[in-house]
């Protein structure tokens, strides 16, 4: 049984057909590279899975059960986390405050319910250690490198024991050295049995970490195959339409 299964999912925005009957599945512990040109339907697909809006047609199953998300919080409760391109971090807060944002650990103090920063720092330190990232829990995100910021955003998804992590262009805005760091983070998540969807324009990144590749063009899925059976040349052809389907 697939972890996540989409059958014939379509999405219309007025007269525009952003997704046209797409089938998509995701297994535990795999990284799927989702590629396509701008407007190909990648982000529409991801937004449906993340609960930003419901599909116009088709069904979505999580661990075999049909699911209907109305808000991002619904998807999160079901174990689906998104790491946004801008990482959705608060620069003025510490790493651990960001990891726990919206689900802070509290402790009772008489009648008061107070933030338990010590517990949050400790848990964050463990999460960063698991991710083998040199990120200090008390440090403000403002002064962190791109790789450390990614680690904070990923640690956040990890906190909730996510089953699926959707990543939107995680390597778009960081240096070469940090890209390697982030790709290592993705492999570590996969090794823990998490399913990852990696949306990226960067061919080398996708080919270095993904297990399977899905290519979208004009709202249709034009390829879905193991990465070993494809090549950057083929994918480029699929994205541009030079190759119809594979």
């Amino acid at each position: 049984m697939a972890l996540l299964e989409l059958n014939g999912v379509s999405k219309h925005f007025g007269a525009i057909e952003a997704l046209a009957g797409v089938d998509f599945h995701l297994e535990p512990g795999e990284i799927v590279g989702l590629m396509g040109d701008n407007g190909a339907g990648k982000s529409t697909l991801v937004k449906i899975v993340a609960g930003n809006f419901p599909p116009s047609a088709g069904e979505m199953k999580l661990e075999g059960r049909p699911v209907h998300f109305h808000k991002p919080v619904d998807a999160r409760a079901a174990g689906i986390e998104v790491v946004y391109q801008d990482l959705a971090l608060c620069n003025n807060l510490s790493a651990s405050a960001n990891v726990f944002l919206g689900r802070e650990k509290m402790r009772r103090f008489g009648l008061l319910n107070l933030l338990d920063d010590r517990a949050m720092h400790e848990r964050s330190r463990d999460l960063f250690a698991e991710l083998k990232s040199e990120t200090r829990p008390a440090e403000a995100v403002r002064s962190m490198s791109g790789g450390q910021r990614q680690a904070v955003a990923i640690a956040r998804t990890h906190l909730s024991k996510a089953k699926i992590v959707l990543m939107d262009e995680p390597t778009a805005a960081i240096s070469v050295r940090q890209v390697a760091e982030v790709l290592d983070l993705l492999r570590r998540l996969r090794d823990q049995g998490i399913a990852l969807v990696l949306i990226s324009h960067r061919m080398p990144d996708v080919f270095s970490v993904a297990d399977r590749i899905v290519v979208m063009r004009r709202g249709h899925k034009v390829a879905d195959k193991p990465i070993q059976e494809s090549s950057p040349e083929e994918v480029t052809g699929l994205i541009t339409g030079a190759i119809r389907a594979a």
């Binding site: 946004y84 003025n92 490198s145 050295r177 940090q178």
Partner: protein
Amino acid sequence: MDMASHSAPPRAHHGILHRMMAKQAFWVTIAVFLIPIAMTLIEPSFSKAFWKEENFFNVTRNFAFIAIIALGQVTVMITGGIDLSVGSILAVSGIVLGLLMTNDYSFWVAAPAAIGAGVACGLFNGYLIAYLRLSPFVVTLGMLSIGRSLALAISNNKFFYQFGHDQKLLIELGGGKTFGLANPVIFLVALTLIMGFALRYTKWGRHLYAIGGNESAARLTGVPVDRLKLSVYVLSGFMTAISAILSVGWLGSVTNGIGLGYELRVIASTVIGGANLLGGEGGAYAAFIGAALIEVIRNSLLLAGVDPYWQGTFVGLFIILAVLLERLRGRKVD
């Protein structure tokens, strides 16, 4: 592609001194003490007037009224908003208090009514800003006009100076002292401690900073952004009403002109203390010490015999200096 960031990321300073020095409020605290010391060295006659218990009493009381309002304002500014209507809310609350007490209502009826009026103005601001997503600047600018006009209408342009059977209580509350400190200063210290605690140790405080840092991120992680935004404008109205009650008690009278132009002094206090118009920065102590600095500058110039017409220039220069300091420390480079 960015190849320049191969050098190690900047290391954070963990020492207490380092962390303090990174805070604007720390430097403002130093300035609060340094200004009178410098004045004393330059002008020996200044020291006789300044370093007196009576002057300390006056200075602290004078800034307490502004600082209490600034405690509410700073929470608004942490979320990236602004409340321009505080001066007018002060007038509405003050007039409600004056009108009721003149008609011989008990202080215990009039004071809650004054607070209710401040909270109602805050609810109006907050609802329009948080739920109808209108600009804080425009909404509170509207309230600035509405509040002042309401104060005129309610008071019928009358001057209240008789406060019925609870007159003594009101005058004592605003004008009296406890343990050698003016009562408004006691209120200020207590409210600063409560607000400092709430901003630092509660989920409410943490989430206000998150909204100021990245509102959409806060929303995505499930922070109740709208409800929290409403809360800060209500709090601003509440704090302003507290200040109104104390001000009327101290002045012994109230007219609808009370609090005119206070919004600028209040916002100047929070900005000097380290709040940022873009949100995410500042705290209770920032509001406290920013207000203190403005009063110390004002008082020092006065005692040094500088023409009071120049006060605005000095206060204005300090506001600009505060922003410049922040830029120099590179906080907004990220």
